[in-house]
């Protein structure tokens, strides 16, 4: 019986123990098993991010598919000083923003959302905490139509994904002070839009911008 010299199955299994950085180093060496393991780990968080930016599950999955493809095609350009997450999030968020820009006008028709929320109001008593996730998402999509793409991305990365400002700056490709600026303006716009469109949910904001 000849000696078993190499097993693709064993090779793939070994990558499961690797760190994200080790996976990217493997990908730089054109190891497809490393890419498969990265897809295994990162598909869910990337789909979540793209979905929150775009609000469309199918588009989110397409964005993530292209993200992995671009990551492979540009694998030699990965800088080891970066966190792997930063690099991958950057590719995905840039793609999502491109799609968002292309279909911006579709987000204008939000009147049905408002009517639906008003119709369910007696059940939840104008209490944001008792609203379902779908209603929260609908409100966000409507209010966020007043944000620039960058503001929306910074708000989601910082406030929803919980990334620190430093990492958000790397993902977005700007300085930390610019991130703070985007975040400040995003919050201000969202609060103003909430007061204007949903005063019943605006709570303590009725008197001004500050919480």
């Amino acid at each position: 019986v000849p000696e078993l010299a190499y097993s693709a199955h064993r090779h793939r299994a070994a990558w499961k123990e690797a760190t994200d950085l080790e996976l990217l180093v493997g990908i730089q060496r054109s190891d497809e098993a490393a890419l498969d393991e990265l897809i295994q780990r990162k598909t869910a968080p990337l789909v979540q991010l793209a979905y929150r930016i775009l609000g469309d599950a199918e588009e989110a999955r397409d964005i993530v598919q292209v993200t992995f493809y671009r990551l492979w095609e540009n694998r030699t350009r990965f800088d080891h000083r970066w966190s792997p997450n930063t690099w991958i999030y950057r590719i995905a968020s840039n793609l999502a923003i491109d799609v968002l820009r292309a279909r911006r006008s579709r987000e204008r028709a939000t009147e049905p959302v408002r009517q639906h929320l008003r119709s369910v109001a007696p059940d939840h008593g104008w209490d944001l905490d008792r609203l379902g996730e779908a209603e929260i998402a609908a409100i966000f999509r409507e209010l966020a139509s007043g944000l620039s793409e960058r503001q929306r991305l910074v708000f989601l990365l910082r406030e929803v994904e919980g990334l620190p400002s430093q990492e958000v700056a790397r993902v977005v490709g700007c300085r930390e002070s610019t991130v703070r600026n985007h975040l400040f303006n995003a919050r201000k716009t969202l609060r103003a839009e909430l007061r204007r469109r949903y005063p019943e949910y605006a709570g303590a904001l009725r008197g001004g911008d500050e919480p």
Binding site: E59, D62, P211
Partner: protein, 185 residues
């Protein structure tokens, strides 16, 4: 953790433009305390967006993603073969919907041809110089096997996750055998 002073925490956060010390712990407390949630949402309704819904991603979704990405990479290596020669360009949306998943019969034929060519190439002995193979961190195939696989670049198109590769060395001949159920002739 007892209920924090949300008014002070949120005012400090607003002034700093950053999360103040202890804010992460306060948020963890918030998720399990209805009274604090009511208070914070009254102070800052934008905190409700922390509950933006997550999309369920199943194991089959991940496998579909892996196959779709593999298909895009294959298509980009074979100009004109993918989707009637449609350019990829890394554009979103096009990939999965265009149906670039590999054709089973074609893969099978390519696999059989790959084995035959690989065995033939190796029995003829060393030929032209081969590029430096990637250093294997996760497994340790012999240099001979790595060179053979690297030289026969079509092998990567096989995409046989469970393939086993055997090596037989002799003074005059080196043979590499790829074993996989799909190659059973």
């Amino acid at each position: 953790m007892s209920c924090p002073s949300w008014r002070a925490l949120l005012a400090e956060r607003e002034a700093l433009g950053e999360d103040p010390r202890g804010f992460a712990e306060a948020l963890a407390h918030l998720d399990g305390c209805p009274a604090c949630r009511r208070e914070t949402l009254a102070l800052d309704p934008l905190l409700a967006f922390r509950r933006l819904p997550a999309l369920a991603v199943s194991a089959s979704d991940v496998e579909a993603m892996r196959q779709a990405v593999a298909a895009m990479r294959r298509a980009s290596r074979v100009p004109g073969e993918a989707a009637g020669g449609a350019p990829l360009g890394g554009r979103p949306i096009a990939g999965r919907r265009a149906g670039w998943l590999p054709d089973g019969a074609r893969s099978w034929g390519r696999a059989a041809a790959a084995v035959a060519l690989l065995a033939l190439g190796l029995t003829l002995g060393p030929g032209r110089p081969v590029p430096e193979p990637p250093s294997g961190e996760a497994s340790t195939p012999s240099r001979q096997v790595q060179e053979a696989l690297f030289q026969a670049s079509f092998v990567e198109d096989l995409d046989l996750a469970d393939a086993r590769i055997y090596q037989v060395d002799s003074a005059e001949m080196q043979v590499v055998m790829i074993v996989h159920p799909s190659l059973d002739l």
